[in-house]
Point group: C2
Amino acid sequence: MKIQAVRGTRDFYPEDMAFRRWLVERWREASRRAGFVEVDGPELEPLELYTEKSGPEIAEQLYWLQDKGGRKLALRPEFTPTLARMIASRQAALPEPIRWFNISRCFRYERAQKGRLREFFQWNVDLVGVPDEVADAECLSVAVEAMKGVGLGPEDVVVRLNDRRLLGALVQHLGIAEPRVPQVFALLDKRDKVPALALAAMLAEAGLDTRQREGLERVLSWRHLSDIDARERATPEVAAAVESLNRLFELLKDYGVAEWCRFDIGIVRGLAYYTGPVWEVHDRQGEFRAIFGGGRYDRLLGDVGGKPMPACGFGCGDVILGLLLEARGLRPEPERAADYYVVQADAVAWAEVLQVVRHLRGRGHPTQFDLKGGALKRQMKKAADAAARFVVILSDGFAADRRVTIRDMQSGEQRDLPLENLG
Amino acid sequence: MKIQAVRGTRDFYPEDMAFRRWLVERWREASRRAGFVEVDGPELEPLELYTEKSGPEIAEQLYWLQDKGGRKLALRPEFTPTLARMIASRQAALPEPIRWFNISRCFRYERAQKGRLREFFQWNVDLVGVPDEVADAECLSVAVEAMKGVGLGPEDVVVRLNDRRLLGALVQHLGIAEPRVPQVFALLDKRDKVPALALAAMLAEAGLDTRQREGLERVLSWRHLSDIDARERATPEVAAAVESLNRLFELLKDYGVAEWCRFDIGIVRGLAYYTGPVWEVHDRQGEFRAIFGGGRYDRLLGDVGGKPMPACGFGCGDVILGLLLEARGLRPEPERAADYYVVQADAVAWAEVLQVVRHLRGRGHPTQFDLKGGALKRQMKKAADAAARFVVILSDGFAADRRVTIRDMQSGEQRDLPLENLG
């Protein structure tokens, strides 16, 4: 009986795995250059780590199980709650600020579709302990550096940046009561994904009257911070949020990434824990869902039982980014499996073949040889399968003269040399 | 409320993560040098991938859940069944031999104890398509190279090597019927872990009479292949198994790893799918459980619905190996978070600090700076926290002369230089 893989998961055959490794190394490189250090936690966490903050409904979108002691354990859907738990449990001992990054396998029990899988990889960068906008700018610049690292430019992607305090104040000024704000945010987060009419109906259902819905439409039509009308700008909450955003854009200029970023009042992010600047990275053509999502979450540490600490960060999944790189022709060629492939022209003894193999591996060269021996033609085909750069040919004479023939598979050139000069 | 991590899982704070990364890179290096390529599969697999071969009891030792469609999904306890599934589903397209390695997170729902966790990492190397002993030797040599790579020598560890066909024939010659052999093997696999008396009782319970138990004891007392008595060696099954083992030891000599290996008739491996040579790596002092386990499994591909293919390989977990390296003082120093740390002696503008930071990061140097500014003394303390090798000091004059001061934190030396010569 052939057993199939679980829907929404992936098998990583060598080529797919090479791409995943390459992408993960670009993430790691961008994080390290900015002085972030890698951490990780379990993939299996108590379910309440997620339901505590997001409500019991979230369990519907997670894979979870009950253990023999009746405890509910979930497969992590994201890393941030784990990060908050880890910080809260060693808070006194960790030097501040905390600059951590993580590359996680995560799971979401959602409808599997293009760009949305049930098992995926996510890169997280978090900076904890700094309330100032410079921390938001620092994280954002790491995201931009990673995009440069995989070959994307500001003509391919755009960072759309907003502040929850700004939109929150504007929404409340429309007479929408504070307890209803999270629900309105959650609906606005779907704006790119559902038709305008459907969204209007959902907002009406959420209790917004016509005047409030029209007001919201007007707010969402503002393209620049300067579009915000004077009456709103005169209120202290809006004035403070605008000033903070202006400062953030100023810093992004200093980081040399301003051309990648623009203000977008419609960005809210779905997750409940954001408290300040929020941002997403989208492809300019609007072909795909968001590639990165991030923002400030100053209350999360307190919520998981720690001392409250200002914090910001972002996450970036491998699926959408992979599709975008594929579409732009930016997927790199996979590494070859072997630099050298050792073949026997005559029936050379294993002991001698292995001498040559050991010599090459000992010098750090990925080396394969034909484990079955047989006809030279067959062995040369295997060398080609392995995409080896060089083939080393051993003949009967090797035992006596310790010389081998090396063929450069790119140029076709071939020459004789003593074993000790090989590699 | 403080939420605790799940028992038997680990939080990887920066130091633990640095060790895990280092170990994983040593595994990767040993695999690649021998021309193996990396693959991976899902962590969530159909439960039947494990119960099909090992029986429904295995579910007791796994974490599994039922999805909304009633399908039973398990967190993988090991990679080999996934590997077999992946090969079976693309068998015609994959060039032979298949030389794959994998580094997996795996889960087992067992009693958590020293050296045995519920969530762990495992390195797997598999060579599929070659029936000859040279394939077993090739895999074993990769294991030895990895041990060298982490600093272990043949004085620290030993590869204990046997062949299931040999022990299988000897057990059957004692009159133990074939269907009972797997159960006897499973009991023998516990030999190092339970007292001799308890083992004898378990064997009696399994239906072995006194003569059979004594016979088994005599067989297990043989230390060398030459100890096997003449009557046994004269039977074709034993003769064939001994010949195969002799050839394998000959090849291990050619690979230069013979001094790491010895024959051990007591090695059987717990897993049901082994069919030929089986081996384990143990620390010489016998302080820990097995570090590596491997062997030949020529029937597994056929069992998961593929075309039968000869195969061999091994697995190595991170937990025991980590404990051994710790005990031998072989855990490396963690990498520093930052090579450079930029501080402000005066109230320098962010724009200028960021110029220096961008200059260093652009040249590939992990660079941090103090996101809060403030007193120079406080900033120097933060630089020390980050274990930065160099501190770069900016003063008021920087805007005009573009010169910085660099201090080597190891030697204490300090000098002035223009920004463009930095890094």
